[in-house]
């Protein structure tokens, strides 16, 4: 095995890593925000909101990410008449995708909280939204942190697929280096190690966050 190409290409890999992290970070953050909204919609009594959230989640879970990515990448400019940067299309696609999974995780978390908690909050005079914000969601988050961490890692790994629309992430860097150096194998090993460093760091961070949130138990 020969990794000497790294001396020439390591800056490209670092740029790729930066883009992968940016992509995953924004997708996960936005995914959580939309995920909470979708989960609350799905739990609401309004049949329209509920129906929309349920069909959205089913659609996203039932179609390949690659298809969703192409729909956004080619469809969005056509529908809006605007050109978006590739990175933007990638973030949108990953966000829409992960929001559906995160919504289901959050919904399960909210349902796992004893209904006495909501009753106690409401009996003190808190409106529904306030009770959700201060009582239910903080407890739900604590319970779903492991599942959420898992989803974050999935997003980082799945983000490799956006290299296909030309975003310079780790995966695309590996492919370019493979083409330039005629070495099919080693550039991929480097990519794999970089992905692993990112996900392993994240899973350790999540474990620390879990420990801190467990103080009350």
């Amino acid at each position: 095995m020969d990794f000497s190409f790294l001396t020439r290409y390591y800056t490209m890999y670092l740029t790729g890593a930066r883009n992968t992290i940016l992509l995953a970070l924004f997708s996960v953050l936005l995914g959580v925000i939309f995920g909470i909204a979708l989960a609350l919609m799905r739990l609401s009594k309004n049949p329209i909101l509920k129906g929309f959230a349920a069909s959205y989640i089913e659609f996203v879970r039932g179609t390949p990410l690659l298809v969703q990515l192409y729909i956004i990448y080619y469809g969005l400019p056509q529908v809006t008449g605007m050109r978006f940067p590739d990175l933007f299309a990638g973030i949108i696609a990953l966000t829409f995708n992960s929001a559906a999974y995160i919504a289901e995780i959050i919904r399960a978390g909210i349902l796992s909280i004893d209904k006495g908690q909501m009753e106690a909050a409401r009996s003190l005079g808190m409106p529904y939204n306030m009770a959700m914000k201060h009582i239910i969601i903080p407890q739900a988050f604590k319970n779903i942190l492991p599942a959420l961490g898992n989803e974050f890692i999935v997003v980082i790994k799945e983000s490799a697929i956006v290299s296909i629309i030309g975003i310079y992430d780790i995966m695309r860097t590996a492919n370019i280096v493979r083409g330039n150096t005629y070495r099919p194998f080693e550039p991929l090993i480097v990519a794999a190690i970089m992905y692993f460093i990112i996900t392993f760091t994240l899973s350790n961070l999540m474990r620390m966050a879990e420990r801190r949130l467990r103080t009350g138990d």
Binding site: D114, G116, E119, A120, G125, M126, M130, T215, G216
Partner: protein, 243 residues
């Protein structure tokens, strides 16, 4: 203060409350007893609309709280509730449990809310637990905190839904003591309980419920010594025998 007119509650096919007419006066301690499944808890939970009545009226100082035009949250602020399962917020310290709703709902300043909280915690003898989390406390302590949490909103009425039923026997006394003090301070209370001793000693009036109706009501000594109705006699006989 609270007037209930022809209150009905159905859970699907099940007819739980079959027409209840009651009135609770200011400062009165009303104790509701009866066999399980008689609708006592449902009746209590209807009073602050944790259960939505199927039919009837609940007038609180003259306003019908079932009417959708009236803000139920405002109404609930005036009505504290204590649950069988305590339902303290496990992710918050005792102090935060007590200060949360005054701060968020009444926009009370941190300092003022803390003042109110410590006064209440002192009254129940648990000021030293302010920084503890609920699961570091015993059942009796949890329930006393739950009472303090409800009182922090300065309610006009307190509803108790079997407050001692989930407690170990040796902890029942400390909770009943807090409730007794509260009653002596003139708080209007509606208490669903199996503690006949408490009903006798503290109750101004006892309601005996069975199969969704108030079968009999009277001052405690009459209910316990001279029950009129056959079902009341049967029930009182069984529970007093168990003592």
């Amino acid at each position: 203060m609270i007037k209930v007119e022809n209150l009905h509650k159905n859970f699907k096919e099940l007819h739980v409350l079959k027409g209840i007419d009651e009135e609770v006066k200011k400062g009165e301690v009303v104790v509701v007893i009866g066999p399980s499944g008689s609708g006592k808890s449902t009746f209590l939970r209807c009073l602050n609309l944790l259960e939505e009545p199927t039919n009837g009226k609940i007038l609180y100082n003259g306003t019908n709280i079932i009417d959708k035009k009236n803000d139920i949250n405002k109404h609930r602020e005036k009505m504290g509730m204590v649950f069988q399962q305590f339902n303290l917020f496990p992710h918050m310290t005792v102090l935060d449990n007590v200060t949360l709703s005054p701060k968020k709902i009444k926009n009370m300043k941190e300092k003022e809310a803390k003042g109110v909280a410590f006064e209440l915690l002192n009254r129940i003898g648990l000021a030293n637990k302010a920084e503890s989390y609920p699961n570091q406390l015993s059942g009796g302590q949890k329930q006393r905190i739950a009472i303090a949490r409800a009182l922090a909103m300065s309610p006009e009425v307190m509803l108790f839904d079997e407050p001692t039923s989930a407690l170990d026997p040796e902890m029942v006394g400390e909770v009943l003591d807090v409730m007794k003090k509260l009653a002596m301070d003139g708080m209007t209370m509606v208490v669903v309980t199996h503690e006949m001793g408490f009903a006798k000693e503290v109750g101004d009036r006892v309601l005996f419920m069975d199969e969704g109706k108030v079968i009999e009501e009277d001052i405690p000594c009459n209910i316990f010594k001279r029950p009129q109705h056959a079902r009341t006699k049967d029930f009182i006989g069984k529970v007093l025998h168990a003592y």
